[in-house]
Symmetry: C2
Subunit: 163 residues, 2 copies
DNA sequence: TCATGTAATGTTATAGTATTACATTACGTT
DNA sequence: AACGTAATGTAATACTATAACATTACATGA
């Protein structure tokens, strides 16, 4: 990981706090336990404003004085994924904060293979179509998001400039 | 990896040979170089009849007397992916033979998170819809297949039996 | 023939990602 | 106080993938 490109600035502190407050509310409603550690990991993910690797999170935790090892961060990420607060991006081995955690959704995430930036969309028709393809084969979809890789507009422009 | 469940029997030798012959023809047409090593890896992937991990392939190569190390198999897989003969499944870190290598296609692959089995479908409408979602954001898709995880009918049945 | 360039493969080492297994702590219930 | 459970701490290890450099095979042309 440790990609240096940064096209989209990290969210303002106020926005971060709003998202965290929303997570607090969600977990309270559901009776799930957003502990200080889990909340701290979520905050780190949100502050990044882009997909981040588990070991980057681990480094940040350590910087913040939390004596941590891999299971610490993987457990927190697992919880956050179950709660729909974080998505895992398998093609990049990264994790990102969900853009719309307040309602259950199954979304599409575009990730740039050059800079690692990601964009999460609401795609009302997509999973319906996927279910239609799956049904005749008896397959039951469990993924709550779909990652697809490509090249973002910034990196496309960079390619053109290089020629 | 090393999942023991085997619901779908491996392809008959005749089918394997047909697929290999097709790969030979494709690469000859394109002027690409399907070397003995690459062809051997492809044969291993085809014979599995299901997604297989890189280190499993490595073990098989060694069994067959080919002195191999990780780069050997990763390089072969990279070539085979470029030629559209093999797909990588990021959520499982596995590789599978393309079901329709004879024509360029961008397909949908269902993978079972329980047993690892996979099913590749022709999905004429899917990538068009994905492009429609991507276009307004200037995003350019490069993936040639889309993996989505769920539970296959056999494993669903196993769950019901367990209750 | 023989130098040279290129593609492919061999080889060693290391980087990066994730899980297992077991110990400890915190806290509510009986 | 004893117990049970959820959460976290800790050490070790497994699994996946790439970097870097050496060697081989072979085509091409001097
Ligand atoms: Zn989301
Ligand atoms: Zn980009
Ligand atoms: Zn295919
Ligand atoms: Zn299954």
């Amino acid at each position: 990981m440790m990609s240096s490109t940064l096209r989209i600035k990290p969210p303002a502190p106020q926005v971060v706090n709003e998202q965290l407050a929303q997570a607090d509310a969600l977990c309270r409603e559901r009776g799930s336990n957003l502990t200080p550690l889990r909340r701290q990991v979520l905050e780190l993910v949100i502050r990044q404003g882009r997909p981040v690797g588990a070991y980057d999170l681990l480094d940040s935790l350590r910087t913040q004085g939390r004596g941590s090892s891999p299971p610490t961060v993987y457990r927190a990420l697992e919880f956050l994924q179950q709660e729909g607060l974080v998505h895992r991006l398998p093609a990049q081995n990264t994790y990102m904060a969900c853009s719309h955690p307040h309602h259950h959704h199954r979304g599409l995430i575009f990730t740039c293979s050059r800079c690692g930036q990601a964009l999460e969309l609401e795609t009302p028709d997509l999973f319906g179509m996927l279910e239609d393809y799956a049904r005749p084969h008896g397959f039951e979809i469990s993924d709550d998001s779909l990652e697809i890789s490509g090249v973002c507009p910034f990196c496309q422009e960079a390619s053109r400039d290089a020629r």
